[in-house]
């Protein structure tokens, strides 16, 4: 049954969220581990970013002239200087659309 699987998947997901928050206390993590955990955002999010850019819907690598690479670069530059989330996302999308609808059309 699909619903049963969804419930199991939900419980499993909830456990991934809850385990460390509810069952770990400060003393259990040493200073060294805490120092490494400082890197969690930098160590996790590229695993969402890179495949989102370089791998297409069919699970294969994109061409080196893919508009997504250009869009991502524009987003990085705009984000770096503007420090603004909306500007970063919009710049990436607009430059991507510019390439697919205007240049490559």
């Amino acid at each position: 049954m699909t619903l049963t699987s969804i419930i199991f998947a939900g419980i499993l997901t909830y456990f991934t969220r809850m385990t460390m928050i509810a069952l770990i206390s400060r003393d259990m993590l040493g200073d060294k581990i805490k120092a490494v955990l400082e890197y969690v955002p930098s160590a996790v999010f590229p695993a969402i970013i890179f495949p989102g850019i370089f791998i297409n819907d069919f699970g294969t690598f994109i061409e080196m002239n893919d508009p997504k690479i250009f869009g991502a670069l524009v987003a990085v530059i705009v984000g770096y200087f503007s420090k603004n989330i909306i500007a970063t996302i919009s710049a990436g999308l607009v430059s991507y659309w510019f390439l697919i609808f205007v240049v490559f059309n």
């Binding site: 699987s5 419930i7 997901t13 770990i24 987003a75």
Partner: protein
């Protein structure tokens, strides 16, 4: 000292720009579920029960592709195992909360909420009701996610596919990490994670999403050692 309400509002404001990518993605998720032939009600309860973006799409794609329920459930667990890392980071700030509050707050921990609240926590360690910021980011995500997936289910893919709005997801995460490009150690960790994710992309159960952070954290530990 900020009040609970101020912190909650601050959380809402801090995460709201991400809705630019979250809402289109939610609509796509809902629409894909129905297109794959699942009952709209099942597609919706996932947003409530799992509440986990990409993992919901993967779950439905696997099932419709003929994978067993076990494989689908395991994949969701592995994709979402990155929350263990978020929890480890957040535990330091949520330590004072009662066990029940910890159990409740855990439900709303999501990628963008973790990222924005963690940034806020680092700068405002002394605030007494810090967790209200996390509740603010989490609840905003939750409400928008429910509305977005529901709209996708009801209205279908009214977002034209040609727009390629899925691309907004990597962009939202670029916005989160881009300021850390100023620090060389972080750049090394990011590149390690990114390249590993491409290298292990075909690993079973979408496990690249946890393999590459583990490799990157290992590199981070080495870098810390070198710094000394």
């Amino acid at each position: 000292m900020l009040t609970k309400k101020q912190l909650f509002t601050r959380g809402m404001l801090d995460i709201s720009p991400h809705m630019l990518s979250v809402i289109p993605f939610g609509i796509i998720c809902g629409a894909i579920g129905v297109e794959l032939g699942f009952h709209p009600y099942l597609v919706y309860v996932m947003s409530f029960i799992i509440f986990g973006g990409a993992s919901q799409i993967v779950f439905l794609q696997l099932l419709s592709g003929g994978a067993s329920s076990l494989v689908a459930v395991a994949s969701v667990g592995i994709i979402n195992s990155r929350h263990l890392l978020y929890g480890a980071v957040l535990s330091e700030y949520l330590e004072k909360l009662s066990f029940i509050k910890k159990l409740l707050i855990s439900y709303v921990v999501v990628d963008q909420g973790f990222a924005e609240s963690n940034k806020f926590f680092k700068k405002n360690r002394s605030e007494e009701f810090l967790h209200y910021h996390l509740i603010g980011t989490g609840c905003t995500m939750w409400v928008c996610w429910q509305i977005a997936t529901l709209s996708g289910i009801v209205l279908g893919s009214f977002v034209p596919e040609e727009l390629g709005l899925k691309f907004a997801i990597p962009l939202t995460f670029i916005a989160i990490v881009v300021q850390d490009l100023k620090k060389l150690d972080h750049v090394i960790v990011m590149i390690t994670c990114g390249l590993s994710s491409l290298l292990f992309f075909d690993a079973p159960f979408k496990s690249y999403i946890i393999i590459s952070p583990v490799i990157a954290l290992f590199v981070a530990a080495l870098l810390l050692r070198l710094k000394k």
